[in-house]
Symmetry: C2
Subunit: 207 residues, 2 copies
């Protein structure tokens, strides 16, 4: 079966050619376009052409932060698994996810809040420049917005792409008004895969 013996690199190159051809000329800047292409590569969903929202220079600021060793915080272990940690570590950064930490579960239960919300509080104690990548939990974004307002954290960038039907649209709108650079998938769509894809698109643009 000839398909099988295609080289992995040529498959990836061909995929991006197909996506680029289908996108045609869109005027969102080269960095944002790279991000959009990688999100479509991950989802095969061209709705992101309309959904993805970038604050002014968000991609450039994210790339710069990663170049300077920023760490990435994800809200799920799936997103954590998807981030290219080899590339991130080569830049002096690392990736963190506190959702499965035993303390986090205990505290969340005791306080009747989500684990994602407690995990964000925990992440805000990290003494690094931080990029938050949220692909699942709107409550992570809601708590993050609160922590920003309380000056407990000043993220370099927020990747706000939780998926779902409850509080998701509202949480994304909070982030777009937070004053922090953002890349957000407006509406209900998103996911851990989308969060990781955006992190990786930024990482691959650092060089």
């Amino acid at each position: 079966m000839s398909l099988e013996y295609s080289s992995p690199l040529s498959i990836e190159r061909r995929s991006f050619e197909i996506i680029e051809a289908q996108l045609g000329d869109i005027d969102i800047g080269p960095e944002n376009k790279k991000i959009l292409e990688r999100v479509i590569h991950t989802t095969a969903d061209f709705d992101y052409t309309e959904n993805l929202k970038f604050s002014q220079d968000a991609a450039k600021l994210g790339i710069e932060a990663l170049r300077n060793g920023a760490h990435i915080v994800t809200d799920t272990n799936m997103a954590l698994a998807g981030v290219n940690k080899k590339t991130l570590k080569a830049l002096g950064g690392d990736a963190h996810c506190f959702i499965a930490h035993p303390d986090v579960a205990g505290q969340a239960k005791a306080r009747g809040v989500t684990r994602a919300s407690v995990a964000v509080e925990r992440a805000c104690t990290l003494k690094y420049d931080l990029i938050f990548a949220v692909g699942n939990a709107p409550t992570a974004l809601i708590r993050l917005d609160e922590m920003i307002k309380r000056k407990r954290v000043a993220p370099k960038l927020i990747i706000g792409v939780p998926v779902g039907f409850v509080n998701v649209v509202e949480a994304k709108e909070l982030i777009m008004k937070s004053g922090v650079p953002y890349i957000v998938a407006a509406g209900n769509k998103g996911g851990s895969n989308v969060a990781a894809a955006i992190c990786n698109a930024l990482l691959y643009m650092v060089k």
Copy 2:
């Protein structure tokens, strides 16, 4: 902010109510409907209502296999991270992904094939009942189909939901003709998150 203090369980319940209401009456059987609902919960993408294809009794056979201790093989660490391993292990199963194994990378390079393809060969040596969950690599499905034809493996179920534009549609069609029970997302869409969601939907129906 009252949103934040919603209990996690009530958020999930409300999400599924919204999805169910939007789906209305669809006649695909209760097990398949549970799977579809969880995929939409993970993607917010109602296209799966059309895309998801189930072979006769695929969900029932998957549930039965998991009840009997079948193991799950994923093609990516993201899908592996998304599978509810606690529930799976409580049933006597486990989850495996060989993509990042050093031998696999070396062999793939030497043979000029994808790591996903070599990882499938490795998985076929496992001495358990197996469910394959492929959310990323069409070459995993293509190799799996070949291994089935050579009688090197007889999966209890194939979850075939790779995403992309190169070989993806063709690989899924191979699986739908393989004679093995399948749950496939026809077309270009899918993903590691979708693969994990289908595994979890099956796991939650075992009880």
